[in-house]
Each structure stands twice: as structure tokens, then as C-alpha cells.
Amino acid sequence: MEKFAPAAGNGLLDRRAFLRGGAALAAAMTGYSVKAETLTDQPWSKEPGTLVPPYGAPSRYEKEVVRTLSNPNGEPRTQHGRTPHHLLQGMTTPNGLHFTISHAGNADIDPEKHRLAIHGLVKRPLVFTLDSLARYPMVSRFTFMECGGNSAPLFSPEPIQANVQALHGLASCAEWTGVKLSTLLDETGIDPKAKWVVAEGADAPHLSRSVPLTKILDDAMVALYQNGERVMPGQGYPMRLLLPGWEGNMNVKWLRRLQLTDMPGMTYYESRTYAQILPDGKAYQFYFIQEVKSFITQPSVGLSLRGPGFYEISGVAYSGNGRITKVMVSADGGKSWAEAALQEPVLSKAFTRFRIPWQWNGGPAVLQSRAWDDQGNVQPTRAEIVAHRGVAARVPPVLGFPSQHFNGITSWAIDAQGEVRHVYA
């Protein structure tokens, strides 16, 4: 049989190994040392099963596959639900597991009474019902959504021991369907003085953010559907602003109003929360874009390796600037790198699943991934980010947000027992 040369140090194999002959590779890498058990018919094979429910739910054996909640008792502050990346595969996040952040709970909106008003520097202010919007020509696109504060624990001066759900769970990906805002603005007309669109939700905080008109006319939509069904309440039912690749908080949920203006609103969230302090005391503002990033989901913290042998390393990569072109993986803390396979489809501003085969020899390993996009951007190392942006003065709580927009490399260290730890490497 063909010999599979290592693609990089510490056991990384060529990403095409399986494409060239998976059966031969599997046979070559498996010792067949364990005796098979004798197979028997189980109870579920000997009687009819359960009733088909009107709305399906995962198997009762999958109860651990849930979001983690930051504020389960609804104290008067923000609630976060984080996506369990380590228990998912592919590029799409199931709707019930899509991350959500609600600043004062999820609005319980009667769709018959919801309205979307578009006004300000337009030629003809208009108000739309959900029924009227649903009659417009629609578009669908996959796009990731990421909170500006996702991965913020990596600003900690020392690595926080938490799993990928806690560290990177404020990012998800779905297929969104709705009406392009350029279509609706064709009907209101645009005053030439308009440069910004201030968006507002119908939730209790009336959350509002300012978006450049150029982005609104480029690829923004009023999203009505998420993975084929109506947008979930935690995503803004019955409609949300969708700004592919841009900071999650700007994708205003429960969207009720868009006001065209000649200046930004300088709303609370852009004035305070989503402005990032820099080492010289100044602060970034209008950090619109979620920049190129990747992280390994399997193996990762909490998913121990069960003895030396074959494992597939897998994760997600994405860029708010465009399409992922390359993901490199290291098993030796960045000393050597091998190119991962990118699972089709590879779409602009969407999760791209990457995979690479790995033969673990049972020794220490540090797994890392690094992504590139088609606009020439490369995911920075953590050291590069810290040099530019600084580091938190103290170790933050695991669910804290010392700053935002961390897109550096994440490192998982594996010890001889197969336990995975979060490290800085």
C-alpha cells in the first residue's frame, strides 16, 4: 500500500490521506488488538418505537448538548447562551444551539403587531408589516454571527482553564433568509445626505447601533428565516438586521426601526461597551468587522484522547472580510505546520469546517490552527494581538469581557494521559 508520509511534526498526516484510500489507511493504522463483542438484538430492535412528534428534538441521550447560560435566573443584566462547538460538526449551528445574547431578556413579540419603520433621510418614510415583507423577493445566505466579545478570555494574562464553549461559544453559523435592505431602500428612496443607518430593536432596552449606509446597501438584509424556519426569539423574532461578517451586537434583533442619518448615533453600545481600550489609553471605536479566525473544536478541553492512535483534528474557520482560503494546523506548538482540508462548501463570511488526520504517538502535543482569507488577511498569533492591543491587568472571570475582538490563535496542550488543557504557546 501507499505510504503516508507525515505532513508536519508530531504525527500530522497529509490532509488528502483519506481521499486517496481510506480503507487502506485505516487498516494500516489500526492494530485490531481488541477482540470484538458478540452482537445481540437490543430491546429497541424487538418492539415498535416511540410516537413521531410534531416538532422533532434530539435524542434523550444528547441532553449534554446544550448552550451554557451566564445568567440562568434572569438577574437584571445581560444573558448569554454559548454554543457547544466541541459537540457539533459541519458548518451549520442548529437553531436551538445558536449563541444568543439578550440585554434584557427575549422580547415576546406578536408578529401581527410588529412593525418595521424606515425613515429619516429618505424620500418617502415607510412602515412594513411582517406579512408585507414576506411578499418581497428574498435571498438566502450562510453567514456566521459572532459577538464582538467572543474569545475575550484570551486577553487574560494567564490561560483560563475553560472549554471551547466557554472561550469561543459566542459564535455560530446559520443560513439566513430575508429581504435585502437595498430592495426596501429602493422604495423609500435615499436622501443624498444620508451616510449612516441607525437601527433599533423593539426589545425593552430598544437596543440601537449605527451602521454605515455603504454596508446596508452592500449585503445587509432584514432576516425573517434562520435555517429554514422563522428566526428564533433569541435571534430577534420576527425579524433581525443581518450584517454578514460584522460585530454581532450590530445585527439588531427584534428590528423595528431604521433611521437614515448624516452622522452616527453614538449609541450606548458604540460609545461605551464596544469600544476597545488600547495601551496608550485611547480606544478603538466602530470595530465593525469580525476578523479572520479559527479554533480547533475536536480534540479540545474536556474531550480526552483515549490512548495513542488515529484522531481527526477538526475545527471552524471564518472571516468577516470574505472566504477562507487556507487553514494550517500544528501539533507541536507552532514549530511545524500542515495544511488542513477545507470541507465544501467554502462560503464568504461563513463557518468553514477544516479537518486533518493525526496519528497521536501518546506524547505531549500542542494543537493550533491558523486561518487565511481571500482578502489577504492572516489570523494573528496571540503574542501579536497582545503586543498591539495589550493584556488584561488581572485574570478575568471566565465569562468576563476584559476587551473584545480577539481573533488570535488558540492552543490546546495534550499530556501523556490524553487530557487537554488551554495554554499560551
Binding site: H119, S132, Y136, S271, F286, G390, R394
Partner: protein
């Protein structure tokens, strides 16, 4: 060109009102008024009315102190007074050490506060609370009256503390000064 022909061309060439489904309903400023609550940093959108520190103090004690503490010193929610130095990326951001525009205080209180009962304050109460917080932070005097004319003129200490992250994505600045 004949008049009917010209009219027909005009209709065809007016995409704003002709080409699409046209299922929106025109809405007047009066019909929009209850939702039209944005306040821009130049003061556009500020309503009539006014308020002072003295008027704001009892409102704060009654409706805000439960979460933000006595005189805004902090409680289960953030402190609203004080200007701790910004020495690291995780420094505490306050009105006095961070917020670039005074109008944001009015806009945020009016749209989001009190947490349990947003949109329950009158515009006069929002002006009074805004004056109270600005005076507590010594950004204005205790006698200063906040209204649609005075509030946008309040210069915040950190007004020039910001850098756009992506200048090429920023629309050109407004034609009038802020």
C-alpha cells in the same frame, strides 16, 4: 416627444416608487413620533423640556439607586460616578472617563432605563437625571439647566479619546460640527 410618452418614460424611470412590490405604507412624522427617540450627538432629536441636578436627585433615589447605588456609587449595576484612570484594556469605563458625547446619556436613559420599566420616564425626568449624572461627575455645575440647547454643548472629558478601527469603512464626517 408627446406628453403621454414622456409621462410613461418618467414612470418607468422612477425606480424608487415604481419597480418593486411597493407593499410599505407611507408614514407621517406624527405617526412615528412615539418611536422617534434617537438623539444624535449634535442634539438632533432632543425633545422640549429641561431638568437640573436638584430635580434629578429625588428621581435617581427613587428609580435608579436600587441598582446603581446611593448617588450612583454602584450596586448590583455599574457605578455612574467617578473617573478611575484608564491604565489597562480592562479598565472600568465610566461616563466621566470614557463616554464621548453627553447626548448618549439622555438617549440611553430614555430608551433603556429603568431596567424593569423602560420608556416610563417623562422627557423632563430624563433631562433631570442627565443633569444629575453630569453634575455628580463635575462635568457641569449643580445649577446648570440641561435642555435641547445646552446638553449637546457639554464637552465630555474623553471626547477626543477614540480612533476608528477601520477608517476606510467610515462614512465621511457630517457637514456640520459636532
Amino acid at each position: 416627444m408627446s406628453m403621454p410618452r414622456l409621462l410613461a418614460l418618467l414612470v418607468v424611470c422612477t425606480p424608487a416608487f415604481g419597480a418593486g412590490p411597493n407593499l410599505g405604507t407611507p408614514i407621517s412624522p406624527a405617526e412615528l413620533a412615539a418611536w422617534n427617540i434617537f438623539v444624535l450627538p449634535d442634539g438632533t432629536g432632543l425633545p422640549r423640556g429641561s431638568g437640573t441636578f436638584a430635580q434629578g436627585a429625588p428621581i435617581f433615589a427613587q428609580k435608579c439607586a436600587l441598582c446603581h447605588g446611593d448617588q450612583g456609587k454602584g450596586g448590583i449595576s455599574a457605578a455612574l460616578v467617578g473617573s478611575p484612570p484608564i491604565k489597562s484594556l480592562d479598565a472600568t469605563k465610566t461616563i466621566a472617563n470614557f463616554w464621548p458625547y453627553s447626548t448618549t446619556i439622555f438617549d440611553f436613559i430614555r430608551r433603556s432605563m429603568p431596567w424593569q420599566q423602560p420608556r416610563s420616564l417623562t422627557d423632563e425626568e430624563v433631562y433631570a437625571l442627565t443633569a444629575y449624572l453630569l453634575a455628580l461627575n463635575k462635568i457641569i455645575g449643580e445649577q446648570d439647566v440641561m435642555n435641547a440647547q445646552t446638553l449637546p454643548k457639554v464637552k465630555m472629558p474623553n471626547r477626543n479619546g477614540f480612533i476608528p478601527r477601520f477608517p476606510d469603512k467610515m462614512p465621511p464626517g457630517p457637514e456640520r460640527d459636532l
